[in-house]
């Protein structure tokens, strides 16, 4: 792989978590200068939706700090606001309260997104949302095209990324000629093309069958480790979250809040067989119980 790791990962460092007051493991926020500043910092963020029947508090009081190179999974039932949180981080939906900072710079100002901050983000949606009129390589290179990167350079980059996500040999294919899993690989490559500081993924494998999904999880882990990416990953699949994440953030609905943050300390890269170990299943079980108790 020709890619150079962008930054040294700060591994083994204690992640600083800011928690809402009503949780048990609240820790004070420690703020330090330099490279120790978190990649993403979310402070008291909320989002209201105004409907005919009044105001709905979709999300409220979200506190979260994510370090460089960290993989954080957001889990919860549908309607718990996890996608809303991700869309606010991704610059797609303005928060109605609180502050989101990427590398200590506010992402939103007066309901308008700071475009220089958005360029640091890469977004992968539940649907691949590839453009059917572009070949795989041109889809992957689209973000570079929008930034005015020359054709030859962006093709070279896109080829490398196609290799990284395992699409070698399909560069010239149209999206319709790809399977669901391959489309999602292309979407991931597209999001990685700008070397984002923060990769945001909204149930990227939700539409895939179980076997493809398992393989994609392994692939994603490999890609994230190779590129030292920082990832926020939304899913409703608990084992998937535990398998991939350094921390699992569990949310509860009405209004959407963070209920619990759990560290997952298994060494990386993780093996599929990890999912059959008692330790893994203990974590999965405890998270599942937590979700069941909401009812």
């Amino acid at each position: 792989m020709t890619r150079v790791a962008r930054e040294a990962r700060i591994k083994g460092e204690v992640a600083r978590i800011a928690m809402p007051d009503n949780t048990t493991t609240a820790e004070p926020v420690v703020s330090e200068a330099g490279t120790d500043t978190p990649r993403l910092s979310i402070t008291d963020v909320g989002r209201d939706f105004h409907t005919r029947n009044g105001v709905i508090h979709a999300v409220s009081g979200i506190h979260l700090e994510i370090q460089r190179g960290e993989f954080v999974a957001l889990i919860g039932r549908s309607g718990c606001g996890k996608t809303t949180v991700l869309r606010m981080i991704g610059g797609l939906l303005p928060p109605t309260g609180g502050v989101i900072e990427v590398d200590s710079k506010p992402l939103w100002r007066d309901g308008r997104v700071d475009s220089s901050a958005v360029t640091k983000l890469g977004f992968v949606f539940q649907e691949a949302n590839l453009f059917p009129w572009f070949s795989v390589i041109d889809n992957i290179a689209l973000p570079l095209k929008l930034r005015g990167v020359g054709k030859r350079e962006r093709r070279t980059r896109a080829k490398e990324l196609a290799e990284l996500v395992g699409l070698t040999g399909f560069e010239g294919s149209y999206p319709r000629e790809l399977s669901g899993g391959m489309r999602q690989r292309a979407a991931i490559a597209r999001a990685l093309s700008t070397e984002p500081d923060l990769l945001l993924m909204d149930e990227p494998f939700g539409a895939l069958d179980a076997l493809t999904r398992e393989r994609m999880n392994l692939e994603l882990q490999r890609i994230v480790l190779e590129t030292s990416s920082t990832v926020v990953f939304v899913t409703h699949d608990i084992p998937e979250a535990v398998f991939l994440a350094d921390r699992v953030v569990q949310m509860t609905p009405r209004p959407g809040r963070i209920n619990k943050i759990l560290r997952v300390d298994f060494a990386k890269p993780r093996d599929v067989d990890l999912q059959t170990t008692p330790e893994f299943n203990d974590i999965v079980r405890s998270l599942r119980h937590e979700l069941d108790e909401e009812e």
Partner: protein, 264 residues
Amino acid sequence: MRNNRMKLLPWIVTPSLIVAIIAFWHVFVTARDVNPLIFPPPREVGDALVDLLGEGTMWSAARVTLTEIVAGFLIAVVSGLAVGVVLGKVPWLERSVRPLIVIAQVSPKVAFVPLFVIWFGFDITSKIVLATVLAFFPVMLNVLLGVRSVEQGQREVMRSLNASRSQTFSQLEMRSLMPYLFAGMEVGIVLATIGAIVGEYLAGNEGLGNMVVTAMNSLDAARTFALILVLSLIGLALFLIVNELKRFFIPWHESVYGLQNRDV
């Protein structure tokens, strides 16, 4: 193997059907002894067609008609695209002019031919105007629909990539509406052909439509038939050209690749 046979099928069936229709036509008019002034046998039509193709006046008339069709069609495509995009992007404007569009669309535009003649004269301009007016609406309405039908998920991709308005237009909206534009063009080219011919029928002093009227007035049914055949061939050729353009410009679209792979 099966695939190959499927590809050959239309090339065998279509000529056979045409031969069958001509044979039936021949048998029908000879067996029932139909007056050739009313319904000439295929042989006479064939002879008339051969005569016609040898006439220099036919070719210059065809050039006139073709000019009217193509000019009207091109004006309709350009203006339909422009108006469709603007109305699609500016909802308040679309809402305010929608009643007018509906009225213009349902009004029988052929009825305006006398007015077009008063305004634009008996020469080709009035026919171009009628061709344009007929072809404009399907193009414009399809483009309008196309602008509205851009997938929300693809819009979000452009937003997440911090794309400018013009980038979103050139990379997403314009490309996404191409299949709609071509759907409108396929209807539009047929209507432009109708517009030019009807214009010539009603108020022509040149063109193939005018020749049809002349042939009819001299009770030459075979020649009338032959001229209609020529007009049909022109219409077919123009449609095939638009269809080829579609294959060239949107090879990625279902309407193009679906036809090729349907039986695979």
